[in-house]
């Protein structure tokens, strides 16, 4: 199994020394504070890292139970746990890290508690490049810094699409024996940044939803959110009318007009969706 670690063609470190790991991680993301369980003297840490132009791809296995804390930084990073579990703390909020739950931070400091078999892939992005992508989409300068809601749920479709694309790139840069053409890599980087802005909630999400493709009436979007969240339960058209505060008939009509299908057809699609395979 160890021979097939992601990004193994781009080794950063492979060490049993906590001190060595601390120094190597500091070069990558800023100086972390690491603390281990009492009695731990050696670890079994592996990290691989491949830097593209505006983004970086990394794989890290710490090989021991540990706590890690990072100060504020100037890069944006999204974590995709691939094995094991942990928890991340930002201020007073704690949330889980596992194969279905990750996190995204635009420079925020954080602390994390990681289990012994925890491994993750990290997508780092130059925050300035991400911000200029956002400005290009919105069509206006971005004055307040980009700030994300940190927890990311990979069961959600947009987040799953982001993860699938990210894993695809990780696999391709590692597997191909010849380098990909620069224009292809550059466009893939742009596409990943677009997906990051689409898949995560941030302080500019509301502006992105005002683009024409999302210009469905509020009740339609509310009903879609309700269906995505509750599709495992029985849902009646009346429930949707109650949730959105409009009549069943007018909800039906606005779905048809803005989406071309009915609310119940949307529910059927959500339920038919194949789930969670990577």
């Amino acid at each position: 199994m160890t021979s097939t670690q992601p990004l193994n063609r781009f080794p950063l470190f492979r060490t049993r020394s906590a001190e060595e790991m601390r120094a190597a991680l500091a070069q990558l993301y800023g100086k972390p504070t690491l603390s281990f369980e009492r009695g731990v003297t050696t670890i079994d840490a592996v990290a691989n890292h491949h830097r593209l132009s505006d983004i970086g791809l990394a794989y890290v296995k710490y090989g021991t139970t540990m706590n890690v804390a990072y100060p504020e930084g100037n890069f944006t990073m999204q974590a995709f746990p691939v094995r094991g579990a942990g928890a991340m703390t930002i201020g007073k909020t704690e949330f889980p890290l596992n194969s279905r739950r990750g996190a995204i931070l635009a420079g925020t400091g954080f602390a994390a508690r990681l289990g012994p078999d925890y491994e993750h892939l990290i997508l780092t992005m130059d925050t300035r490049a991400l911000t200029s992508k956002l400005a290009a989409i919105v069509g206006a300068p971005i004055d307040r810094p980009l700030s994300f809601r940190p927890r990311c749920d990979y069961d959600r479709l947009a987040a799953e699409a982001l993860r699938d694309h990210f894993l695809f790139l990780v696999d391709k840069v590692n597997a191909l024996t010849a380098p990909l053409p620069k224009p292809v890599l550059a466009e893939f980087e742009q596409m990943l940044m677009v997906m990051v802005l689409h898949a995560n909630r941030h302080n500019y999400s509301h502006l992105l939803e005002q683009t024409p493709a999302d210009a469905a009436p509020r009740e339609v979007r509310r009903a879609e959110e309700y269906i995505e969240a509750n599709h495992r339960q029985a849902i009646k058209l009346e429930d949707l009318a109650r949730e959105t505060g409009v009549s069943a008939f007018s909800l039906f009509r606005s779905f048809k007009q803005s989406r071309g299908y009915s609310p119940m057809q949307f529910l059927a699609r959500v339920r038919a969706r194949p789930r969670g395979t990577v």
Binding site: A161, F168, L176, T177, P181, P183, E187, T211, F266
Partner: protein, 280 residues
């Protein structure tokens, strides 16, 4: 419940009626002559079609052996077989269709496809004008001659392999989608696909895109590969290859080491051992 087909959420036509299917294809592509070769009773077409601005992604299956003859039109089609077998014919050249490979149909010339009854494929159709616009943007060159793309891809090229693997991923993403993706998401996907398509195929402007890499050693590797492919049955010495590229035998070895996981002569051995000289 029946297994859902790729892009089932973007249905174009489901019909046993040949005229209805031709009509539907004409709406998004061009009107083919559609001839069932097997039992006409078995004809049952399912065609799905998802538009990403200037690009169309489609899924099709016909339920019986069919031949489709398409007139010349301003769109390149790349076929990605999922099941069954077939053949695409363009003028005097033809390419076999089977899962794991892919083939391209030209924009400027008529072409036909023969498909087995169990055949299913994904198709990516790219508008010629948008390819030319992108070429111009990438290279800064004037694009005067019509774009001509090789019928088969060069699968030693990483972009060709990436395109082959990426399309199913994108189709799966679109197939799971319950909500339309926002326009800016779609626009970026179109840009990436157009770039990948141009880099993943050999065409009469490929050399301009390779210049962009600014890597002379990669050009030497390509030159050698082309020569070896064309002359595989002759005696080829390392000195011939060095003379061809104008560099020393040693730098040629180094260029192969850098860009490929084999040496020039190992490549020759691989080409010679290919069954029937197919392009893969």
């Amino acid at each position: 419940m029946a297994l859902l087909k790729p892009l089932h959420n973007f249905p174009l036509v489901r019909s046993r009626d040949i005229e209805e299917v031709r009509e539907a294809m004409a709406r998004v592509y061009s009107r083919p002559v559609l001839t069932p070769m097997g039992s006409a009773d078995g004809f049952k077409a399912t065609v799905n079609n998802c538009q990403i601005r200037s690009i169309h992604l489609a899924y099709a299956t016909y339920g019986t052996d069919v031949e489709l003859d398409f007139p010349a039109h301003g769109v390149f089609s790349q076929l990605f077989p999922i099941r069954g077998t077939g053949e695409v014919v363009r003028g005097r050249s033809s390419a076999a269709l089977s899962p794991g490979a892919s083939a391209i149909a030209s924009a400027g010339a008529p072409h036909s496809v023969h498909l087995s009854a169990d055949y299913e494929h994904l198709v990516m159709r790219v508008d010629v004008q948008s390819l030319i616009d992108k070429l111009r943007a990438l290279t800064g060159a004037a694009i005067d001659e019509p774009l001509q793309i090789d019928l088969c891809q060069d699968f030693k090229h990483p972009a060709a392999l990436m395109l082959l693997d990426y399309l199913p991923l994108l189709v799966a993403t679109l197939t799971e989608a319950c909500l339309p993706f926002p326009d800016w998401w779609v626009a970026q996907t179109e840009q990436f696909l157009t770039t990948l398509f141009l880099c993943g195929h050999r065409h009469n402007y490929s050399h301009l895109l390779e210049n962009d890499v600014r890597d002379a050693s990669l050009r030497q590797v390509r030159q050698v590969e082309e020569y070896v492919e064309a002359n595989a049955q002759q005696v080829i010495t390392l000195e011939d290859l060095a003379a061809l590229t104008g560099v020393s035998v040693f730098s040629l070895f180094r260029a192969f080491k850098k860009h490929r996981d084999y040496s020039p002569l190992q490549f020759l051995a691989r080409v010679r051992s290919r069954p029937g000289g197919t392009s893969r």
